[in-house]
Amino acid sequence: MAEPHSSSHEHKQGFWRTYWFSTDHKVIGIQYGITALLFLLFGFGLMLLMRWQLASPGVEIPLLGALTPEMYNQFGAMHGTIMVFLGIVPLAVGAFGNYVVPLQIGAPDMAFPRLNMASYHFFFWGGVVMLASFFVPEGAAKAGWTSYPPLADIETMGQTMWLWGMVLLITSSLLGAVNFITTIIQLRADGMTFFRMPFFVWAQFITAFLLLLAFPPLEAAGFLQLADRLLDTSFFLPSGLVTTDGPLEVAGGGSPLLWQHLFWFLAHPEVYVLILPAMGIVAEVLANNTRKPLWGYRLMVYSLIFLGFMSFIVWAHHMFITGMGTAISAFFQVTTMIISIPSVVILSALFITLWGGSIRFTVPMLFALGFLPMFGFGGLTGLPLGLAPTDIPLHDTYYVIGHFHYVVAPGTILAMFAGIYYWYPKITGRELNNTLGHIHFWGSIVSMNVIFFPMLIQGMAGVSRRLFDGGHTYSFSEGVMHYNVLMSVAAFALLAFQIPFLINFFMSLKRGRKTTRDNHWAATTLEWSATPTPPVPHGNFETVPTVYRGPYEYSVPGHATDFLSQDEASPPAAEAVAAEELVEA
């Protein structure tokens, strides 16, 4: 368990203990954040190489030469893997969850600080293994981020590295998930009841359950595929396969579909692992910048719990074209339709929160406002994919790529930026530059749309994903091929618009204006109100806060300021009654 608060003023530790083997959740959060951002940039770089190839097939890339199909397929598989498992999950859960959750619930640290450190190091080495796989003979994994056998079973050595990398990453997530659940249940400050927890903490709480319950099947599946590759088992190999080297000499009798079930049993909840923390961040930023309580907070929490539960029984909608039975297919179509409803509820509640607000257009607020319609768009484009008849022509086409990128890129990633702009002053004690933030926001949201919208059109025309030449060999795709140039130009523009962010991020560490008060955004939650900026290194709080009220008591009538912090002792009686009414009504 976390060390008691009094031990926080201990002797100074060396560099390695302070920055690399730290057990302080804030340092670990920053480690996660920096590492994940670097991986995001790297995964984005792989995508740029692929977009170069798609816009101008065969034209040489400076320093790298013309892309071969092998290289393209490696980049494709690794782009997906890196963005999901090494970029967004560590950023959303590892970085924001680690840094913010203990502060928001008034805990001195995570429940298991050493486990927390181990979790980061598993993640880091998982990433190293993934990167190293580019340098093994015949390169990195190229069976797609989904690694479907038999292809993945007979692929080159990079696939084995991919599996070991995944095992490390999954282990990291499991350690993290146990830690989050224990921390949130056990280490809440006095008065921090479950329904006084900020929505962000709820989102991390549910996310942790998803990770804890969904990842073990994939870890098991990863070991089974390793056994197929290294120990000549045939968990995923049917009998009678013939490959380049003639008939495969394996026992056979396995099922390629088994992998798909195990994979998607993780990978669908994984979608919500990517999106729930994003919703949590957006909820915090919206309440803070509309200066009013979240509309329908309890309804949102119930929707979140329902969403988490439902996410476990929708996975086979990724498998409508595998020829599964009508009854099973019908079941998964029903659950897929149902799961859209809690998402609609949460999104609508966030929209209605704007109503009657006093909206400050800060940079984090811009990103949060950008998230709302983009995530909505991602959700709506997913509707035809949830129904088997409309999914069938669209399955495995660019339409699917467009759909989930809308959810994850202008959806989740914009929310992640909202989080960075929102908590940066807390972490560093310095403000980010506003102008650069505006350039970053508008540039990013416009270029993302120009990249992803044409994908929907290409997919409707029938252009498949994972085509090395982008579909130039297909006569039916001729009419939509010209979009590739536009999309690739937009992708490079998106890179250009990250430069102001990078400059802002690093320059502001030294040159940013110092925050004038601890509670920079005049927020109600504990990470702003109960601890200095930046927070106390070990132990978080100078005095452990007591919580008196719900998370979003903004603009309580009769109160002097427009916010009432969770740890602020009771205001005069009349105000208390008014506030109570608001929460209970």
């Binding site: 397929n73 292809l151 380049t244 609609v344 006093s358 484009t381 039916f476 603009s555």
Partner: protein, 310 residues
């Protein structure tokens, strides 16, 4: 219409396509209306409720059970409608009519082979118009997926397990058949055509392709070249694909990756078909499947004769 580069679904040419498209367009238009509504509302709210001064205070908003409930009931009704509608189309797509004409399909890296009940084989799919056709499909290696955009049908093809797809073409024309499931290096090149004939033409085609007694070996080799999908990797006009072109191949001197060389005589050609990994020509990789060792001796003779004639 896809050929002309519109933003809509491609031209439809099967009996189910109309129903699939109608459902898709219904969802598309409802989504478009919702999305415009959502964007409009957001911009309106953001403008209307912008902070005008630091003394600005929002009005406290009371929660409203009716609004909360409506946000649950309305989307539920909407998805219930599309589900029931979708399910009817789904049954239509899933159940082949009992009088369907059956064709066997074999998929392998990176070509298709279609086998007809008459014994005819082809690498392009030939079907009669206005008659339900049911494909029984199996893969020899990894997972492939049979996809005809114009028919709105797609189904994965596995090794060791049959999968099925059916369609009824409504027009005499040719359409692209693509592999939709990523299947390795030359996935992008794994494509063929479906040729829709009138019923009479189809019978003729079957008859022409069943008998081969009166053909020369080279002619039979030419047909095998097309049936077995050799063209996917070996051109006849000198263009380098995944494998060496057959043009001028016979009689040339082949340099191998192990530094040895050999003249491409008939024995070499035969060996290169049945055991392609034995000797790899410089500049190429060991990618050719070993499946062709199962060809009959007569077929191998015919293929060698065909290659020698190029």
């Amino acid at each position: 219409m896809g050929d002309q580069g519109t933003v809509w679904l491609p031209e439809a040419a099967s009996t189910v396509a109309g129903d699939v498209d109608a459902l898709f367009y219904f969802i598309l238009w409802v989504s478009t209306i919702l999305f415009i509504g959502v964007i409009g509302t957001m911009v309106l709210f953001a403008w209307r409720f912008r902070r005008r001064s630091s003394q600005d205070r929002p009005q406290p908003v009371r929660e409203n059970k009716l609004i909360e409930a409506s946000w649950i009931v309305v989307p539920t009704l909407l998805v219930a409608i599309v589900f029931v509608w979708g399910f009817r189309v789904f049954l239509e797509l899933g159940i082949a009519p009992p009088n369907s004409y059956e064709i066997d399909v074999r998929a392998r890296k990176w070509s298709w082979l279609f086998e007809y009940s008459s014994g005819a084989q082809s690498s392009e799919l030939h079907v009669p118009v206005h008659r339900p056709v049911k494909l029984r499909m199996i893969s020899e290696d990894v997972i492939h997926s049979f996809f005809v955009p114009a028919f709105r049908v797609k189904a994965d093809v596995f090794a060791g397990r049959y999968s099925y797809v059916w369609f009824e073409a409504t027009r005499q024309d040719t359409f692209v058949v693509a592999c939709a499931e990523y299947c390795g290096m030359a996935h992008s090149q794994m494509l063929t055509r479906v040729v829709v004939h009138s019923q009479d033409d189809f019978e003729n085609w079957l008859a022409n392709n069943a008998a081969d007694a009166d053909m020369t070996p080279a002619e039979r080799g030419e047909r095998l070249y097309s049936q077995q999908g050799c063209f996917a990797c070996h051109s006849l006009d000198g263009i380098e694909l995944t494998g060496p072109s057959f043009q001028g191949l016979a009689g040339s001197t082949r340099m191998f990756t192990d530094g040895t060389s050999a003249e491409a005589d008939a024995n070499y050609l035969r060996q290169a078909i049945v055991n392609p990994a034995a000797e790899i020509v410089q500049g190429y990789e060991a990618l050719m499947p070993g499946t062709y060792s199962s060809l009959s001796a007569a077929d191998l003779d015919a293929l060698v004769a065909f290659i020698e004639a190029q």
